[in-house]
């Protein structure tokens, strides 16, 4: 109950503060130096949030649903949603709140991304793009043998990253499943592992590749390690979600024989999750091949590193050949993995 009030209030006051800040910038036109005063601007934002919270509380006190805010209609518990009458959106506060929020954000977005039709239709720029595309569409196949060797390196990077990630992810997945980790100590382990893995996953493989290219030097080993870290975190999450959906019956059946915790996991849970596990793993390999290409751009080795070298020299015909090779391999991997996953069902 209190969690819902908190979410509602935070949501509404954040929107209110955001809109107030936009209004302030638009009317007051602060100088670039003033825009950089993070401390002062943060205090202003918090102040606006407090006002927003008061308004939100006031509106939601009303017994009439049409005065309720967007936060309320978004986060209110299901029993309240169920008893609500249908009202046209333009007769409600939450409807206007949403419309104003979205249209203001769109206008601000145009400014922030410096959206410009003149740049897009600029003659010189356009001629450059045409030159680039001409190169891309007349690939130079002289470098094909080298590109093939490099993409093989990329595929093996992805394969090793996936294979080495499996044992770690497999073990972690059981410690990250809510239905297994019962009791206060187990819950503590579960929470800290989950947080750790979420944090690891939040760091893109690209960032890991930069870290490892400094640690072990530029090349496929760095790329492989980066992909592996990311795969452990992703697979552990997917695996553990599978563990959370297993049926309780076999678990009770095995427990009632006097089995240990390890035996219960091995005999009651593993047989239920093994096929989805394989399916996820094949899919992860497929994803890793695609990611390995990108990781190569920052020094992770393989086809990506080759691509960035030719791109740096604006050799577009060579880049065209490499892109073609990547496209064919990614397409083939995608097909193969979906056929295998279909067969595993």
């Amino acid at each position: 109950m209190t969690a819902y009030i908190f979410r509602r209030t935070f949501f509404d006051s954040f929107i209110f503060a955001y809109l107030s800040m936009v209004l302030l910038v638009a009317t007051y036109q602060p100088s670039p130096e003033e825009m950089l005063l993070l401390g002062r601007n943060f205090i202003l934002f918090v102040f606006a949030m407090i006002i927003g919270a008061v308004i939100s509380a006031g509106l939601n006190k009303s017994s009439k649903a049409r005065f309720h805010t967007l936060g309320e209609s978004l986060f209110e518990p299901a029993y309240k949603k169920a008893t609500k009458n249908e009202v046209s959106w333009y007769k409600t506060v939450s409807g206007w709140q949403l419309v104003i929020f979205l249209s203001v954000t769109f206008v601000v977005g145009i400014n922030v991304t410096r959206f410009s039709l003149t740049e897009l239709l600029n003659e010189d720029g356009f001629a450059g793009a045409v030159r680039l595309f001409k190169g891309l569409f007349s690939p130079n196949f002289e470098i094909l043998p080298k590109a093939v060797l490099n993409i093989i390196e990329t595929i093996f990077m992805a394969f090793m990253a996936t294979t080495l990630a499996i044992p770690f992810a497999f073990v972690l997945s059981f410690f990250c499943a809510r239905n297994i980790m019962k009791g206060p100590v187990a819950y503590g382990i579960y929470m800290s592992l989950r947080t750790f893995l979420n944090f690891t996953r939040a760091i893109e493989a690209l960032i890991w590749a930069i870290i490892f290219s400094v640690w072990v030097g530029i090349g496929p080993f760095a790329g492989m390690l980066a992909l592996m870290i990311h795969s452990v975190a992703s697979l552990a999450k997917q695996y553990s979600e599978m563990v959370e959906t297993v049926s309780e019956g076999p678990i009770e059946g095995i427990q009632s024989t006097g089995a240990t915790k390890l035996q219960t996991v091995w005999f009651a849970i593993v047989p239920q999750v093994i096929l989805p596990y394989i399916s996820f793993t094949v899919y992860r390999w497929d994803i890793n091949v695609r990611m390995a290409t990108i990781i190569g751009l920052v020094g992770g080795g393989g086809i990506g590193t080759m691509l960035i070298q030719y791109q740096g020299q604006a050799m577009w015909s060579e880049v065209g050949c490499i892109i073609l090779v990547i496209a064919i391999v990614v397409w083939a991997m995608d097909q193969a993995s979906s056929v295998i996953r279909e067969a595993l069902k």
Binding site: G249, P250, E252, G253, I254, Q255, S256, T257, G258, A259, T260, L262, Q263, W266, F267, A268, P271, Q272
Partner: protein, 256 residues
């Protein structure tokens, strides 16, 4: 052997959501009995059985099994209790992808080490026992077939064989025939009777149907809203008792 094998005193179970499933239940079970527990869904039958082998933790009260209070046992104690208490379930709870024989061998998990069992090192003794009990429930010829390929009644017989492979002193049966058709019902109940009479294993069985109760039970306990409302021999259950247990205006249904 006049000592009761199981003695339950003032057993209370309150679930975390506040539901009081058992409100102070006390009774004894003698060795070799075929005790049937009847009552509506939600009367606490399943909870009671699950407290006995500690799949659920009782809130208060005592459970004496072979003279020892196991109501608050932990870890290793719980496992050694479960080794002596077999259980079969309404939905059989076999491992669907495993063969019939592998499922029956699961009954030995408590007796062999974790690592040994994970690598599949079951002794010839274990396998001989598994064969013996598969034969006892008349399903020996199916031992290599995957468990999920069997019919419901056959799966329940495999579950009985699994429980027997534990070498239990008591067999708990939680609505063993509730998801079976009437004909198969009797087959499974007959095997439970055989286990009770030939192997001398005490059986505690949750049931819905009074006709089955009269046919198989040596004693009956009726639960209603977490309390015992009747205790006695099945022949004494009258229409009046039946109404009290199952509510006014109910009629007994015969399955045959």
């Amino acid at each position: 052997m006049s000592d009761p094998i199981l003695s339950i005193k003032n057993l209370v179970k309150t679930y975390p959501n506040g539901v009081q499933a058992l409100k102070g239940v006390s009774f004894d079970v003698k060795r070799g009995e075929f005790l049937v527990i009847i009552g509506l869904s939600g009367s606490g039958k399943s909870t009671l059985l699950r407290c006995i082998n500690r799949l659920h933790d009782p809130t208060s009260g005592e459970i004496y099994f072979e003279g020892k209070d196991i109501a608050r046992a932990q870890g290793e104690e719980v496992r050694s209790l479960r080794k002596k208490v077999g259980m079969i379930f309404q939905h059989f709870n076999l491992i669907p992808r495993y063969s019939v024989l592998s499922n029956v061998l699961m009954g030995r998990l408590g007796k062999i080490g974790s690592l040994k069992s994970i690598f599949g090192f079951f002794s010839t003794d274990d396998k001989a026992d598994a064969h013996k009990y598969l034969k006892l429930v008349g399903i020996a010829e199916k031992e290599k077939i995957r468990a999920d390929q069997l019919s419901g009644g056959q799966q329940q017989r495999v579950a009985i064989a699994r429980a027997l492979t534990q070498g239990p002193a008591i067999l708990l049966a939680d609505e063993p025939v509730a998801s079976l058709d009437p004909a198969t019902c009797h087959t499974v109940m007959d095997y439970l009777k055989k286990v009770n009479q030939e192997l001398g294993i005490t059986v505690i069985c949750n049931l819905h149907f009074l006709s089955l109760v009269r046919q198989y039970a040596t004693r009956v306990i009726a639960l209603k809203a977490g309390q015992i409302v009747y205790e006695g021999v099945p022949q004494d259950i009258t229409e009046e008792w039946f109404e009290k247990i199952y509510g006014q205006g109910t009629k007994e249904v015969h399955i045959n």
